[in-house]
Symmetry: C2
Subunit: 325 residues, 2 copies
């Protein structure tokens, strides 16, 4: 069991797949092909970094077209940079493959190049290995302004009284999932939200100095709202009627829109005096931004809570609908 390396012809394939056609940037001094890549950080920037792993038949259908798998994997990873208010710089790819299929790898690289171009992020390096299943690990990184926002947009700054906002419309990817599983090659309509999530990069960067806390919704609005509540030690009260969803409140799919995940929209909090500024931002960026609730003081010695209100009454969401408490 020495290290099993790709053969020579595959080495050439990797060279072809992963060295040409990707965006470049001024900070990258050394890319693929040495023991490590090297970047030159600008003097006034800090570096935000996130590692994201996707496993075949856990995070995506193994039999989906390779370019769609790549698109989704990189876009999901870059969404974490959007959530930090970071400007994408570069990424490294760990790719574990069950077998040597040059056509598959060519198609994967096509999707990766297209997604990298869409996100404006440089491929810095990576590692390709054999393994029993397709596993994709992506390290993505980007800059945040060192002086004004040294740690970017974190989850921990929400204050009681802050508004809770969300971008876009929730639930499209969750509603697409049965279709995607039945036919993984479908990538239009709702399925586009599943395969081509658009990291809210410009929005995230614009929210520096406006938002008090932020994250991207990957696990569903309710679960991710808990992350802000916990990190900020506040309760979140969300008004169900105000949450923008792919189907309306009376539809049986409505609860899935709040818990299904894979949205990659930004959930953020901001002081009430930022409402006008945020409304202007929504117009400038042409991104729907909706105020869906408020942060409240949590009760001493109790865990922070997230509550969804319908007609001002708290409801409990289940997979088949919602129940009043």
């Amino acid at each position: 069991m020495s290290r099993q390396q790709p053969g020579s012809s595959e080495f050439e394939l990797i060279q072809r797949c992963f060295t040409q056609g990707y965006p470049t940037d001024a900070a990258t001094l050394l890319g693929i092909g040495d023991d490590a890549s090297v970047i030159a950080p600008p003097a006034d920037q800090h570096l935000a970094q996130s590692l994201d792993t996707q496993v075949a038949d856990v995070h995506f259908p193994a039999n989906a077209p390779a370019h769609l798998i790549a698109q989704r994997a990189l876009r999901c990873a870059v969404s974490d940079l959007a959530a930090m208010g970071a400007s994408p710089q570069g990424f490294l790819l760990g790719l574990t493959l069950p077998d040597n299929q040059p056509d598959w790898l060519d198609d994967f690289a096509r999707g990766l190049r297209d997604a990298a171009t869409a996100c404006g992020i440089t491929l810095l390096g990576g590692d390709t290995t054999r393994g029993p299943a397709l596993v994709i690990s992506l390290l993505v990184q980007g800059w945040v302004p060192a002086l004004s926002h040294p740690r970017g947009l974190t989850r921990g700054g929400a204050q009681a009284g802050d508004d809770v906002w969300v971008s876009g419309c929730l639930g499209q990817a969750a509603l697409a999932l049965p279709m995607v599983l039945a036919n993984p090659a479908i990538h239009t309509g709702l399925a586009a939200a599943y395969y081509y999530p658009a990291p809210r990069l410009t929005l995230g960067q614009s929210l520096l100095g406006i938002a008090t806390a932020a994250l991207d919704i990957s696990d569903g609005l309710l679960q991710d709202a808990h992350h802000i509540a916990t990190a900020s030690a506040v309760n979140l009260a969300l008004t169900g009627e105000h949450i923008p969803t792919a189907v309306a409140l009376g539809h049986p799919g409505w609860p899935d829109c709040l818990s299904g995940g894979d949205d990659y929209e930004l959930l953020f909090t901001a002081p009430a005096d930022q409402q006008t500024r945020i409304a202007t931002l929504a117009q400038q960026l042409d991104v729907p931004l909706t105020r869906i609730g408020q942060c409240q003081s949590k009760i001493n010695d109790q865990q922070p809570t997230v509550t969804v209100l319908l007609q001002d009454q708290p409801v409990q969401l289940t997979t088949s609908g919602y129940q009043h408490f």
Copy 2:
């Protein structure tokens, strides 16, 4: 197929396993627990980064003790930083696990903490996912001096006439492999070289300004020597009698010492006028450094070559010995 997240109890386990007892450093502003980690790069440093993936039963025995798997994975990854002359800063961990075994994860974390402490590297973040097999992806990064060596130690600077040097003694891990496969829990004697490779960090940093090219030997001396030859466009002529190996030239295991891999020693080139300086360095660092050959001009229009000479005659190494051309 929404994102399958670890359950709440596993979340706590991950918190316990991956947030305490790791080295810290001044550059890390934000670690585990947000959408991304954030580091503050010092003004006079560039950042070298490498991503390394290890798969169970491909790169290590799946049934090896978890702490040994972690030790080996992190040390192998950090070795790439040594090869660049970089000072370790931080790492991110992508961990794909087939099942939820808290004891296994505790033991893995113990090895990871110990290896991180030995290497002086901060755990910045990561992602834990379910999958059909154990896959470990590690992004490691470290600093190189921006002004004097903006790209660190690359593979591409060797010149005809340069000496070829190697650190330590080759072949211990390769010779240990049959034992390790028979009993993956053995971790002393030769097996220590397999599970606890020591990244040559101080040596790598000391070679900045001395070496013209460098890499760490992971795939075997001969294959990795080809990487320097190719990147630098020179031929390498190695004197078999001078190569430090775990068994002597007449031993049937000798060829494995040159091709087996997993050494994580540094192979580097340097001008002949650096010989005294390198000998002094070997004494100061208490690391054997051996001059094993020379770089030569390659023949125009031909691929660079690596030749092993015995009694001044080129030989071809096979798994069962070596043959004269």
